[in-house]
């Protein structure tokens, strides 16, 4: 079997070398970027208080110490939004699926295309045993490489969101860590199944790209809406939770520890609809004139008014395009909450998957991906036995 694995990797040497180089390079790059961020040694308090720019004279007094804090935070944000950082994050996002497709597509399809399948299948007797050898070669290549990439991505995530434990936080959780392995295996299994059915490499690649894009783009929303909703619990000590981490906006949304699933609204302990909450505010709120403010103060914030999108920020599957709406109305009037007992105001309770459930959630979703991989693999094993070798 070892000999078969070695020969399979040798047969597909370009793909083997390319995937290895890219994954190793990406791992090293992620660790370097994390090191660069960490070496700035920016206090968490500076990041949390950073206003993203310099104050005009009408703002509250800023001491020299605060200005220095701002400078450090600005350096952090600049580095965070730098080109190399964006590139690394983009590659980390796509690497597992692309690696899986690249390794999986030629596994069976190329043998059929090049006419070597009849010989291999004649020698092997059992086509499934033959296929198993090739699949194991792919798994032995992908699993360790993707684990390295995933762990490096976790380190980078910790550097990008200081104060958040990447192993107790759902910030970009499916784009790092152990899930990288399972995404790669799922893409690998789906692609070699397509290759077995179609018998041609390029069509397998084309179809796999389409299917994988669709699955990846819909996974987050689908899991949140249909599956994780059943397990979500009331978020406790919300303010404290939010202060535990540095709130940043990147692929996957705010860098909060918990995974937001849905919310419920209550007035005086009674669950109410959004329309009822709207009605309460419209009935009870007081509007006062407020000066118009500029919305975004962070130079690196991609949601600045008029900023063209950068792929790193907007192409994350599932991330919606969000026009900037933080400015006040044209008439310069803003409305504030009413002066009544806060306990009688509408309360919004968020239902979340807590960050402390990270490993259980990872195990669950990885398990689903593994099931999908096994299903695709089963199709391939059934089909290889039935199809013609050309």
């Amino acid at each position: 079997m070892l000999s078969r694995i070695r020969l399979t990797l040798k047969q597909h040497r370009f793909e083997t070398i390319a995937v290895t180089i890219v994954c190793v390079g990406l791992t090293v790059a992620a660790l370097i970027e994390a090191y660069r961020l960490n070496s700035l040694n920016v206090p968490l308090s500076c990041l949390q208080s950073y206003q993203g720019g310099y104050m005009g004279p009408s703002q509250a007094p800023v001491t020299a110490a605060q200005a220095h804090c701002n400078e450090l935070a600005k350096s952090f944000n600049d580095m965070r939004g730098s080109l190399d950082m964006n590139l690394v994050q983009l590659l980390l996002l796509f690497a597992p699926i692309l690696a899986g497709i690249v390794v999986g597509a030629p596994l069976v399809a190329r043998e059929i295309e090049q006419g070597t399948a009849p010989l291999s299948w004649a020698l092997s007797g059992s086509r499934r045993r033959w296929l198993l050898g090739k699949v194991l070669a792919g798994v032995f290549l992908l699993a360790p490489l993707m684990l390295a990439v995933g762990l490096a991505a976790n380190v980078l995530e910790g550097a990008l969101n200081p104060g958040l434990n990447p192993y107790a936080s759902f910030s970009n959780y499916l784009g790092r860590g152990v899930p990288d392995v399972f995404w790669a295996l799922a893409a690998f299994a789906g692609t070699f199944a397509l290759g077995t059915v179609l018998g041609r490499t390029m069509p397998a690649v084309v179809l796999a790209l389409v299917v994988c894009f669709f699955v990846r783009a819909t996974w987050d929303a689908g899991m949140t809406h249909f599956v994780l909703r059943q397990f979500a619990v009331q978020q406790v000590q919300q303010d404290q939770q939010q202060q535990q981490g540095y709130m940043v906006y990147g692929p996957g949304g705010p860098g909060n520890a918990d995974m937001y699933v849905y919310y419920k609204s209550f007035i005086d302990g009674k669950e109410v609809t959004d329309a009822e909450v709207n009605a309460w505010y419209n009935q009870n709120m007081v509007c006062v004139p407020m000066p118009t403010q500029s919305a975004s103060t962070s130079p690196a914030d991609s949601s600045s008014p008029g900023a063209s999108s950068s792929p790193g920020a907007s192409s994350s599957p599932g991330a919606p395009a969000t026009p900037d709406n933080s400015k006040m109305g044209d008439n310069g009037v803003a409305c504030q909450g009413p002066n009544i007992d806060p306990s009688h105001m509408p309360q919004q309770v968020q239902y979340v998957i807590p960050g402390s459930w990270y490993w259980q959630t990872i195990a669950f979703e990885s398990g689903l991906l593994l099931l999908g991989s096994l299903f695709c693999g089963a199709i391939a094993f059934v089909w290889v036995d039935r199809r013609r070798p050309y």
Binding site: A18, G56, P57, P61, M202, V206, G312, S314, K327
Partner: protein, 332 residues
């Protein structure tokens, strides 16, 4: 020539059908998503800077006028729905998918399958043979991507109802004519790689990496080089919807001078800065502000034309390399 075009599609029938289905499907999806957004019917009076105010929950959105709250909420729900989100993100990947899918087998598969010696023997001039195949691919992908790109423009218009998508730089390189430009660039690059490697999978791998890199760096390269000189200083507090932020500096004095890299702070309400030689503020200065250099939306077509020219020049260079190299390489 028509025969050659037809036979090229027949040779690559899977890729041809896949590209057509995906492009037309993406266009239809974008139009459906646009309809989904437009069907909310947000009144024009509710628009803020051309966009619909983002509904951030009743507690945080109480500044929105009462009559606009329900439309805002519905529009936000539609905007963050899966179909709109997916349709939006297609713009970043579809043109590359099309270019690579059509370009990779164009030369590489002929070399792999051993039919190149026959084709090249019959054709005589290899560059003519390749030019015919490239033309066939272009005749397919250009109209398809244009349709998908225009549908993406319509979607952008629906996402920001008060802004003309052809006078706005919001996500402008992920829609419109850029669909065609990216697709053509990906096609030419992949064909060039195909003539180099002569094998389909290696071409796909390298093309994917190169396209990812190009897409991620394009805007910064353009902003930092081509568009830098076109940007104009925007007064603080004045913003026009859909403008393109090219770069920003840290300090601005309203007497028209801009200072960069200057450390400023405010202490007890009095601004202070570490000035460089000759950088002292004038008596009418209002103090340090953020300074943005922008290109306003009315320059949309000029910017698009400029970036298109650069991209097309790059594509032409890649195509020229492919036509040159195909004449030099061995047919197997």
């Amino acid at each position: 020539m028509l025969d050659r075009v037809r036979l090229t599609y027949k040779q690559q029938r899977f890729e041809t059908v896949a590209v057509a289905v995906v492009c037309l499907g993406a266009a239809a999806w974008a139009l459906l998503a646009s309809w989904h957004l437009n069907s909310v019917g947000v009144p024009a009076s509710c628009l803020v800077d051309g966009g619909v105010p983002y509904w951030n929950g009743p507690a945080n959105s109480s500044w929105i006028p009462v009559a606009c709250q329900l439309p805002s909420q519905r529009f936000t729900d539609a905007l963050t729905s899966l179909d709109v989100g997916l349709a939006s993100s297609l713009g970043d990947v579809l043109p590359f998918f099309v270019g690579i899918a059509m370009g990779a087998p164009l030369v590489a598969r002929e070399l792999e399958q051993g039919t190149a010696p026959l084709s090249w023997a019959l054709a005589g001039a290899r560059w003519k043979w390749l030019a015919g195949r490239i033309l066939a691919a272009l005749l397919l992908i250009v109209p398809l991507l244009l349709i998908a790109g225009l549908a993406a423009d319509v979607l952008r218009g629906a996402q920001e109802p008060g802004i003309d998508p052809h006078a706005s730089f919001d996500y402008f390189t992920s829609r419109g004519v850029f669909f065609v430009l990216w697709g053509v660039a990906a096609l030419m690059g992949t064909v060039a790689l195909g003539t180099l490697f002569g094998r389909t999978m290696p071409v796909v791998i390298v093309a994917l990496i190169v396209c990812l890199f190009a897409r991620a760096t394009w805007e910064r390269l353009m902003d930092g080089n081509l568009l830098h000189g076109m940007a104009v200083l925007e007064m603080p507090g004045v913003q026009s919807p859909g403008e393109l932020l090219v770069y920003q500096s840290d300090v601005l004095y309203l007497d028209g001078k801009v200072y960069t890299g200057t450390d400023c702070w405010v202490s007890n309400g009095v601004p202070g800065c570490q000035y460089g030689p000759g950088d002292q503020p004038g008596p009418s200065s209002i103090g340090p502000q953020l300074a943005w250099y922008v290109i306003t939306g009315d320059h949309y077509w000029r910017v698009v034309a400029l970036e298109s020219a650069v991209m097309l020049a790059g594509s032409a260079a890649l195509g020229a390399f492919a036509l040159f190299w195909v004449g030099r390489r061995r047919p197997y």
